[in-house]
């Protein structure tokens, strides 16, 4: 099915099941600990051995020699895999550095060996006996010192590195009110709960990997490419994923090494990346340095917007696209954006929840707050004043839906914004300085083609199969809701099977495209199944109604089970997209409001309450969507107040590489969160009329927190995270 004209009325619009707050269909499995995660799949294949990964001790250089004698002789050891023993390995399309390093070392903790043994303990103990001699080379680990050599990267995901519109330089130079400020965001780790983990099993030349992966089809391709075997010989199974946030979009060393280990040991092998390895071995959100220039008239109309961003990556990697949202968020007749990329020898950077927008808005939405203050205009009003209903760089292109102003207005109302004093540093509550902050949220909508197979079995059960993944987001549930709505059955009559490369290829989970795209694919397959059922019953397609487990037409009513009595009815289809996404700018919007308190003596920062108002098309399941947004707000609070991978610029690695050192928020950090969704449908996105929310929720949060800290203290921090050491010298004197 091709979606190339805006959706009209369709069975989803009945909203009997779609749009209702619905408990997770996989909830009982999760809460009872019985959802089978990759490392725990003891049942899928017998005789599993254990692999333990050895990471490189240096960031850049060569392995001079490796002594495996002791490791191989250690109790229980079955095999030791290294680049030298693994044979020729390719590199996948989605990773920058090799997943098994040697002799060249490209980054710290790059895998250099896998030790396979009878037990986990034996594998871990023997791994410490792998003796590696390295020759270090000089690396480049300091982004701030690499700006001069940074290059203009090629377009990524269709976005050019630079954009220009009008005459920015002249407009900025002549603007009566100006801001020119520099902001930094640090490297971030996904820090998902479940480590990267895989079990590999060979059957002749066929490989099965039970793994934890967001993008099944991409990863089948990359496993095949890396191992040099045909795609058809690779099966990936990933039905449950304990968090990904972009860190599991790609194949990582656990999967490749499990496959190599299984080959070497001649039996199935399981590998989980140990927590202290994950941060430097896998991907992270790269740090940015951003310069923002804004020019405005004295009455608050932006006349010039300039946003430049520098980030680094390994050679061959890509930039953090932190200026993307600035091309679309506010009106101004003169604009420029630019991204520059430095080569760094730190572990490879890649997507993390709202790549580009998350760090981009961390900077931009502080800049907007600063500009509003310079102009003496309330920051909510200032944003509303500079709204645009068209793509500012291509004014002939309207937004399909853009209700940012409503998000801001409603948020201000619910949050009690009008009582806020325009001056910072005035509100005191005992020891605490209290302030409030606002920021806009913006994240583009992406549609990806997505297929599904739907079966109606003899018992009237509807079974959906697609390689879509559920990374804790609720995919199982919204797909079940979609099929139930389409076929007029209760949720209990739908079974959803996900995350297996034997199933039709879906959009997968990434870029907040999963919910709309995967359910649209299920919609297409269900449409086909409806036709097949109607044909089978020789009903009139014009008046057939699917309702209460039956099909009705011209006074006749037949149970679905009966329609399939003579054999299962199966339909498979793919949803593809025309050019609506080009004709219209499809984006999601929101407004974040935060109240924060700062200890006037110590500078400790504690969030008191958070509110998000989101406009993101049809909300398929308000309960799951709310969970997505509060999780994202929590992550945004982490980015604001504590998350930072500390770079050792001498040795070239992230030092705080475990969850004691890399702090993410705990319950005590997040006292009260509220989420409101505007009632919206967007007929240009798909028959579901939905968009994503999982990434929108993090966009802007950190800036809202930083702005609240400023409002509380009058101290502007432009370098994240906003921590007390950056406030301490400017806080009021203590008695």
């Amino acid at each position: 099915m091709k979606f190339d004209t805006p959706a009209t009325d369709n069975p989803i619009d009945q909203l009997k099941i779609i749009g209702k707050p619905t408990d997770r269909v996989d909830g009982p499995l999760k809460t009872s600990g019985t959802a089978p995660y990759a490392y725990e799949r003891h049942d899928v294949v017998p005789n599993q051995a254990y692999g333990y990964v050895v990471g490189s001790a240096i960031a850049k250089g060569q392995i001079a020699s490796m002594d495996l004698k002791e490791a191989k002789a250690a109790p229980g050891v079955l095999a030791v895999v290294t680049a030298a023993s693994a044979g020729m390995l390719g590199k996948g399309d989605f990773n920058t550095a090799k997943l098994l390093g040697g002799p060249e070392i490209q980054h710290y903790h790059q895998a250099v060996a896998l030790v396979v043994a009878e037990s986990f303990e034996q594998a871990r103990s023997a791994a410490a006996l792998v003796r590696v001699q390295y020759t270090r080379s000089k690396g480049n680990f300091d982004l701030a010192k690499s700006l001069d050599g940074a290059i203009k990267p090629p377009a990524s995901f269709g976005a050019e590195a630079d954009s220009r519109f009008g005459d920015f330089d002249a407009a900025f130079a002549s603007a009566p009110v100006k801001l020119d400020a520099r902001y930094t965001t640090p490297d971030h780790s996904h820090a998902m709960m479940e480590p990267h983990a895989s079990i590999a099993s060979w059957d002749g030349d066929k490989l099965t990997l039970w793994t934890s992966n967001q993008m099944i089809a991409w990863s089948v391709g990359d496993v095949a490419k890396t191992l040099g075997i045909p795609k058809e010989k690779v099966r990936l199974v990933s039905p449950y994923i304990g968090g990904g946030f972009g860190g599991k979009l790609f194949v990582r060393s656990d999967a490749i090494l499990a496959a190599l280990g299984a080959k070497a040991a001649g039996r199935p092998v399981k590998v989980a990346l140990q927590r202290p390895l994950i941060i430097n071995n896998t991907t992270h959100r790269p740090a940015t340095i951003q310069r923002i220039r804004l020019g405005a008239t004295t009455d608050g109309k932006l006349t010039a917007i300039g946003h430049e961003s520098w980030s680094g990556d390994l050679k061959g990697g890509g930039p953090e696209t932190a200026v993307g949202q600035t091309r679309l968020l506010y009106a101004a007749p003169n604009r420029m954006t630019a991204m520059r990329l430095a080569v760094l020898d730190l572990p490879e950077g890649n997507a993390m929840r709202a790549p580009g927008e998350a760090p981009g808005l961390m900077a931009l939405e502080i800049a907007i707050d600063e500009m509003a203050e310079k102009l003496g205009i309330d920051p909510v009003a200032f944003r509303i004043l500079n709204d645009t209903q068209v793509d500012p760089e291509k004014p002939e292109r309207p937004f399909s839906q853009r209700r940012l102003n409503e998000c801001l207005t409603m948020g201000a109302e619910k949050f009690g914004w009008k009582d806020r004093s325009p001056k910072p540093g005035l509100t005191r509550d005992g020891r605490w300085l209290v302030g409030t902050g606002v920021a806009a949220a913006f994240r583009n909508n992406i549609n990806e083609k997505s297929a599904a197979r739907v079966r109606l079995d003899r018992n009237g059960m509807v079974i959906v199969e697609t390689d879509m993944t559920d990374i804790g987001t609720g995919s199982y549930t919204i797909i079940a809701q979609t099929a139930a709505e389409m076929l007029g059955v209760p949720l209990t009559q739908v079974e959803v099977r996900l995350g297996d490369s034997l199933f039709p290829v879906s959009a997968g989970s990434g870029g907040q495209w999963g919910a709309n795209s995967s359910t649209a694919g299920v919609y297409a397959a269900c449409m086909k199944l409806r036709t097949a059922i109607i044909d089978k019953l020789r009903f009139d397609p014009a008046d057939a109604v699917f309702d209460k487990g039956k099909v009705r037409s011209r006074g006749k009513s037949i149970a679905l089970a009966k329609a399939a009595a003579s054999g299962e009815i199966v339909a498979e289809d793919l949803m593809e997209y025309g050019d609506l996404g080009q004709k219209f700018q499809q984006s999601t919007f929101g407004a974040h409001f935060v109240e924060a308190a700062v200890d006037a003596a110590t500078g400790e920062i504690r969030i008191r309450r958070m509110l998000a108002v989101c406009a993101a098309g049809r909300i398929l399941n308000p309960k799951a969507a709310r969970s997505q947004v509060i999780g994202a707000m929590t992550m945004g609070a982490g980015a604001a107040l504590m998350e930072e991978l500390a770079v050792d610029k001498r040795f070239g690695f992230f030092v705080n590489h475990d969850l004691a050192g890399y702090e993410v928020p705990v319950h005590a950090d997040i006292p009260s969160q509220e989420v409101i969704f505007l009632d919206e449908v967007d007929p240009t996105t798909s028959p579901m009329k939905a968009k994503g929310v999982g990434e929108l929720g993090i966009c802007g949060v950190a800036a809202a927190v930083a702005n609240a800290v400023y409002h509380a203290t009058g101290i502007r921090v432009r370098n994240y995270p906003v921590t007390l050491d950056k406030l301490i010298d400017k806080l009021p004197d203590v008695a």
């Binding site: 202290p276 110590t602 920062i605 500390a646 050792d648 050192g661 705990v666 007390l724 203590v734």
Partner: protein
């Protein structure tokens, strides 16, 4: 983790004897620190002696009006004990500011005092670290040192002692009772338990190999207002950037100790004497010989400001 053997003993004497029999053995109590370090092969004992069932799990009055806390009293139980809460509130407050509920259920009084530093380079066996591998250098001094020591450190090591409980015990003049393999017992003031890093940061306490902590004693209660302020970026489940423990009397006199600034809880009687004159005066004494790195210099004003805030709270 290296393979090891394990035995469980049922008396302090059996514990120290077991140690004499198997050189290179270690006592294990709650295991919440030792096992993590063994997994990373930062500690590699060949034999573990489980001392968690020695009957050292009681909190009893002493003849001089104080209290004796068995070495194996769990952190949770100590924090919840009615007498501790009433008479030594600082200890209960410091304990519940540390770790998590689950960890405190396992962690013991002795284990808490002997937990090792959280310096991230100490935890990464690829990095130079004089404490882990004497003579290899200190990666932290010119590296990521935001959480490191500002007092008592040396050119060899700037690690801090991470315990919250120990800070409170230091304020309250706690002492540690031990027994060694020969059956000799002694009592060591907490201030004297920890060794300055000097050139041998791997030697952290004055305990002899195989010397077992049997109890912590506290002198009779001193009254006053007990406040423990632990400063951290994350609201819970984070080690202190710095912490300040005070007991302040009505007349403004009192005692103070700092956590997160040195290799041991940092206290100076001469600083206590300055307390009535305020935070600035007391801090000047406590941090007289302070030496910060470019990443932890914020701790200097932070100590004074936190102490000022705590003293203001104590006044009510």
């Amino acid at each position: 983790m290296k393979s090891f053997t394990f035995e469980r003993v049922d008396s302090p004497a059996a514990a120290t004897m077991a140690f004499t029999r198997t050189p290179g053995a270690r006592f294990i109590a709650g295991g919440t620190n030792l096992l993590d370090l063994m997994k990373l092969e930062i500690e590699t004992p060949g034999h573990l002696i489980d001392v968690s069932r020695l009957g050292l799990d009681k909190i009893e009055p002493t003849s001089d009006g104080g209290v004796r806390i068995g070495a194996m009293v769990r952190n949770t139980d100590l924090a919840a004990d009615a007498r501790i809460r009433r008479d030594y509130g600082l200890i209960a407050r410091a304990l519940v500011a540390g770790a998590s509920g689950q960890l405190r259920n396992k962690a013991t009084t002795a284990g808490n005092l002997l937990q090792r530093t959280r310096c991230p380079y100490f935890y990464d066996t690829n990095q130079p670290c004089n404490k882990r591998k004497p003579g290899s250098g200190c990666a932290a001094i010119a590296g990521f040192s935001r959480n490191h020591a500002i007092v008592g450190a040396s050119d060899a090591c700037i690690a801090t002692h991470p315990s919250d409980m120990a800070v409170a015990m230091q304020v309250l003049d706690a002492a540690v009772e031990t027994v060694d393999a020969a059956g000799e017992t002694r009592s060591i003031g907490l201030a004297d338990l920890y060794r300055a890093p000097g050139n041998t940061p791997q030697l952290e306490t004055v305990l002899a190999p195989g010397e077992l902590i049997t109890a912590v004693t506290l002198p009779k209660p001193i009254g006053g207002t007990h406040i423990y302020h632990k400063v951290r970026d994350r609201a819970s489940y984070a080690f202190a950037l710095i912490s300040v423990g005070v007991v302040v009397q009505r007349d403004g006199s009192g005692r103070v100790a700092l956590g997160g600034v040195g290799y041991k809880p940092w206290r100076a009687r001469s600083a206590d004497a300055e307390l009535p004159r305020g935070a600035k005066a007391a801090t000047a004494v406590l941090l007289a010989d302070a030496k910060a790195t470019h990443e932890n210099a914020y701790k200097l004003p932070l100590v004074e400001r936190t102490l000022a805030s705590v003293l203001a709270q104590a006044k009510g």
